[in-house]
Subunit: 226 residues, 2 copies
Amino acid sequence: MSQTQQERKAETRARLLAAAAGLFADQGIDAVSVDAVAESAGRTSGAVYAHFGSKQGLLLALLDSWKDSVLTVLLAEVAVTKSPRGQLAAVWENLADTTNDDSGRWSLLEHELWLRAARDPEVADVIRVRNAEARRFSARQLAGWTTASNARPAAEPEQLAVLVKALLTGLAMQRHLEPGAVTDALAVQGLAALLGLPGDVAPSKPSTTKPTIRSNHTDEEPHHEH
Amino acid sequence: MSQTQQERKAETRARLLAAAAGLFADQGIDAVSVDAVAESAGRTSGAVYAHFGSKQGLLLALLDSWKDSVLTVLLAEVAVTKSPRGQLAAVWENLADTTNDDSGRWSLLEHELWLRAARDPEVADVIRVRNAEARRFSARQLAGWTTASNARPAAEPEQLAVLVKALLTGLAMQRHLEPGAVTDALAVQGLAALLGLPGDVAPSKPSTTKPTIRSNHTDEEPHHEH
DNA sequence: GTCTATATCCCGATAGAC
DNA sequence: GTCTATCGGGATATAGAC
């Protein structure tokens, strides 16, 4: 059955965006030509310019289509686990799983966007808005965790979210460069320190929780390479 | 006094490197042409290829000329202050001072190099070695701070250095995008939480800390092969 | 809206004079 | 070692047919 013109137009636009997302993440934005994006989407470069006007327009449209997804989804899907430490571990492993190359591609693209934002005000505006939304969301999440357990967070939720994201981002960067230097346990430990989770900083007053630190949950063996 | 040929050669090399450093930091590596580097150094592109063979060779030579400086210098120069909190504040402010645009340029170039390292093994080797050295140095520094005060760091020195650098890097990124979102006080607070400095996380009972796990330092020579 | 063809520009690298 | 001139390639973006 044939499509209407509107359907084809919409599909072309969607295909171009999807192709751009994959290629940009894999090779970097500057390294990907408009022709390459179009070819990967089964179209030609003319379609790109008809839809987005320029390569920059394509990039901005791509960012706009990411308003809600990515990090928000990540935080939402781990909301099922109960213990704060388990939550932290889940967040970190989803973010920096070296076996899953998707996360590596995303973090690479995230950093390239940050770098571009530093020199391109148009991109900066979009990224800034997205960051602020994600921060508010994770602040709510963190507030819930810290009140559930009797924690002594290093700051109030909004600022705590900044600290947590900073640590996650920096750890993911170092793991990407030297996978052996950042173990899962270290990441959880650092996050727990920021949240002030009982068990590692204040063992004096364990009202209800059990302060076992290291004998508990899944401990994957960090695989070395070579 | 005229120069000898060797002197002129050395000066040309130095000028090319200096020009490349400035332009790369300002505009990004890919955005700077070889001609632009040469012109900024008062030479022509032929000089670049005579000295470095390619643009990539220029980049690697530039990285090599930065073996010791940058972060090591930064950590060393703040070693005078006494209180750990003062040290933390000094490190952070030197790293992320928004009024000083040098630090902004520096961190931008630093991130671009990280991004490039993720896709270019040659660059990755250099960055990895430099990171490892800086980590060892700051680990020693941190060990001194934490033992001087009665702190409960979140991890042993080498790993603590990873956490601290991660937090600093992530905070600097967020401050670059949203300067208002990251206050100096927040940064110091987060760092203090990682170091387990008394006064903010464990006001109750700073009892005996766990014994140092690793007191000897293995001086492994970073090997690089290609 | 999409394709083909092309205009225009700029980059990295090389060749050869000096 | 440095400069001038240039080649070859690939990029963004446009023009016009359909």
